[in-house]
Amino acid sequence: MPSQELVNKLRAFLPPEAVLHEAEDLKPYECDGLSAYRQLPMIVVLPQSEEQIVKVLQLCYATKTPVVARGAGTGLSGGALPHAEGVLMSLAKLKQIIAIDPLARTARVQPGVRNLAISEAAAPHGLYYAPDPSSQIACSIGGNVAENSGGVHCLKYGLTVHNILKLRVLTMDGECLEIGGDSLDSAGYDLLALMTGSEGMLGIVTEITVKLIPKPEKAQLVMAAFDDVQKAGSAVANVIGAGIIPAGMEMMDKITIHAVEEFLHAGYDLAAEAILLCESDGSTEEVADEIQRIYAIMQHSGATNISTSRDEAERLKFWAGRKAAFPAAGRVSPDYYCMDGTIPRKHLAGVLRGIEELSQAYGLRCMNVFHAGDGNLHPLILYDANQPGELERTEEFGGKILEMCIHAGGTITGEHGVGMEKINQMCSQFGTGELAMFHAVKAAFDPAGLLNPGKAVPTLHRCAELGAMHVHRGEQKFADLPRF
């Protein structure tokens, strides 16, 4: 349908300001957090209610118009990249916290609610929403469901999929499904798991019931410096082997330590090859016990320098450096490209050595920050887009890192999603049988293929055409948001 005709039909039930189609109005929606990919949509709609969303979907379904959902637009994989002939549906206006039930420990929220806003609203009841992606001050809970977002506390508290109970979902033809329940399980197939991380390809989420958990009485941090990355990796295994599940366990390599220390003065040991931050939370008694054990394990594992946070201010100071790793990369290099592979932890030293070798071969520096507890690695390749050929070398380097992650038995994306960015690497991670099944799953929900088409799952044709691994540049918007 010609765009003007569609605009007129949309304006029949949406206020004029909720239907955008002039190029200047469309511009802010041309990309998400991965700004290397840009595409103007045909139309942007900003519905305010589920009823309006149903009407938009019914109209788009009838006119075979693709629909791309968008939350806060902070995603790092181009999942909300618009479709040139499609409608970009912003859910940002649905930002109501509908109800908090402190006794049942749940919150019912609309998809545009910011992640952190849920915890803020739950705080008076001593509760919070556990998944804390680094962009939590800005990212929306709807986007978190779409990407199955994690954070630094995943090993102990789980990902989005572990922390939601119920979704209201509209399928492309406008039918409403209630998936999950107020109960801990529901009848039939686990569609709640299938929806979580489905990158807006299966349905539009209009309401989310999340679990809230009690705020720990106390949190404390051990910071340990090592003169060898291998020793730091062993220390992580030793903590786990001792039966401890830390609330957070993060590792930084030497180049990262220097970059952030210069920037923030967090008190990091500049002589260290690697620093581990290991956090314990829980009741006061539990934390005291665990911190003592973690300290002893770090000693046995050959740490050269160990400190325990004495108070909340010091704990936050130790964390500040880690949380500033991405901005620090932006200070020491004109451009950087963030990877998101996950590996079994036992291969850490080998993979880091491999990255170091590649770094020398390509003549590009690479900072490594690592969610050590759950094996999620974020190498930041430093480059200068203005130097001829450097971007191409970065892309190739990044592709090789993802290949290493797959070879080590890991995955190309731990928490950022496939989106547009890693669609080619899906061909390396999965065979044609699995990819065909992913397409079949999409077709079960969206037979017409109108929801976020072309993302997350490559066509078999694309994989066949693809020669070498190819990773695109990962320029970032929201440079001021913490990223870890």
Binding site: D101, L103, L184, G414, M437
Partner: protein, 357 residues
């Protein structure tokens, strides 16, 4: 008995060709669960020949095993390293296998505190209805590449595919534990359980039966002691035996000759006024209901739905009553579409979950 993937594939392909349903079975300990087989001429697909632990490294917190592996063997291997399946799966018999545990999707007493079986599934290797050997998820904690088919398989009662291997996240066993018991009425118990679940207390299981609340505390020794002081109550002796009896339905409450309903509902729902006897778990989120037979299934389903959940006729299924809570038409449409994609010939456990699939 088949023992290789090739053999399983050949059986599936032949069954698809002749449209002969397959009854996928591990140790057969959950034969009672689900709707009876729809077609009488089905072929048994015995999975017990495909067993063994494929990979287990305690410090990675991941174990991968073949579907026919006995749960007891799996848990014994974990126990040697002080680890466990945190969802405390019910066995319902010594022969219970990993595949059956995943397919049935049942979790035990620790579920409300630690998560369900699907929460711990990291990846699966499976055969679909065409006999294709497929792998989803993996052996790492965080993985968002592709749709979460591994978790979709959990609780699907074998209707979508034949599980070959499963990777699970495992957790360390708590260092210390004890169980408190305290007398109170049901409404007070429901309120208390939920209040305590909202506090940073190491409660790992709850059960309310016959006017008494049982509360298991697990964790670091000092945390358990401190919670014991805070909560009060008497200490239960031999509490492992008690929790095992609740998990395995060997507790006196469970009467093998009477219909048993499982109502999974909002944990804060007030006491359900339904004829029969009840046992509560999961802070009130799980309510087992024994009736004397001849109960009004519809009334039970309405009560469960009004309490935000669903009701399953767990034991003693009988004709005319769907074992699993009926689905709204929109949901059934998706279920049928998924079934059609995974199992186009409709050979995997047809009717066991719903008559339509």
């Amino acid at each position: 008995m088949p023992i290789t993937i090739d053999q399983y594939q050949a059986i599936i392909r032949a069954a698809a060709e002749s449209k002969t349903p397959l009854r996928i079975r591990g140790g057969g300990t959950k034969d009672f669960y689900g709707n009876p087989a729809r077609e009488k001429n089905s072929t048994l697909l015995d999975m017990t020949g495909y067993s063994g632990i494929v990979d287990y490294e305690p410090t990675e917190l991941v174990i991968t095993a073949r579907a026919g592996t006995r749960l007891a063997d799996l848990e014994a291997a974990l126990d040697q390293h002080g680890q466990m399946l945190a969802f405390e799966p019910p066995y319902f018999g010594a022969a219970a296998t990993l595949g059956g545990c995943i397919a049935a999707g049942l979790s035990g007493p620790r579920r409300a505190a630690a998560g369900s079986v699907r929460d711990f599934v990291l990846g699966v290797r499976m055969l679909d209805g065409k006999g294709e050997d497929l792998q989803f998820g993996g052996q790492v904690m965080k993985n968002v590449a592709g749709y979460d088919v591994s978790r979709l398989m959990t609780g699907s009662m074998g209707t979508l595919g034949v599980l070959l291997e499963v990777s699970l996240k495992v957790l360390p066993k708590p260092a210390a534990g004890l169980t408190l018991r305290m007398a109170m009425d049901e409404a007070a118990a429901i309120e208390k359980m939920n209040q305590w679940a909202g506090k940073p207390l190491p409660v790992s299981a709850t059960c309310y039966i016959d006017g008494e609340l049982f509360l298991r505390l697990s964790g670091a020794e000092p945390a358990v002691r401190a919670a014991q002081v805070k909560l009060g109550g008497e200490t239960l002796k031999d509490d492992d035996i008690f929790w095992r009896s609740v998990r395995e339905h060997t507790h006196d409450f469970f009467q093998p000759d009477k219909p048993l309903w499982r109502l999974s509902i909002r944990s804060t729902a007030p006491p359900l006024l339904l004829p029969g006897k009840q046992l509560l778990e999961w802070n009130g989120g799980l309510r087992w209901l024994h009736t004397d037979g001849g109960e009004d299934a519809e009334a039970i389903r309405v009560a469960a739905k009004e309490a935000g959940g669903h009701a399953t006729l767990f034991r003693h299924n009988r004709s005319g009553i769907s074992v699993f809570h009926p689905l709204p038409s929109g949901m059934m449409k998706i279920h049928r579409a998924l079934k059609e994609k995974f199992d186009p010939s409709g050979i995997f456990n047809p009717g066991r979950l719903y008559s339509e699939i």
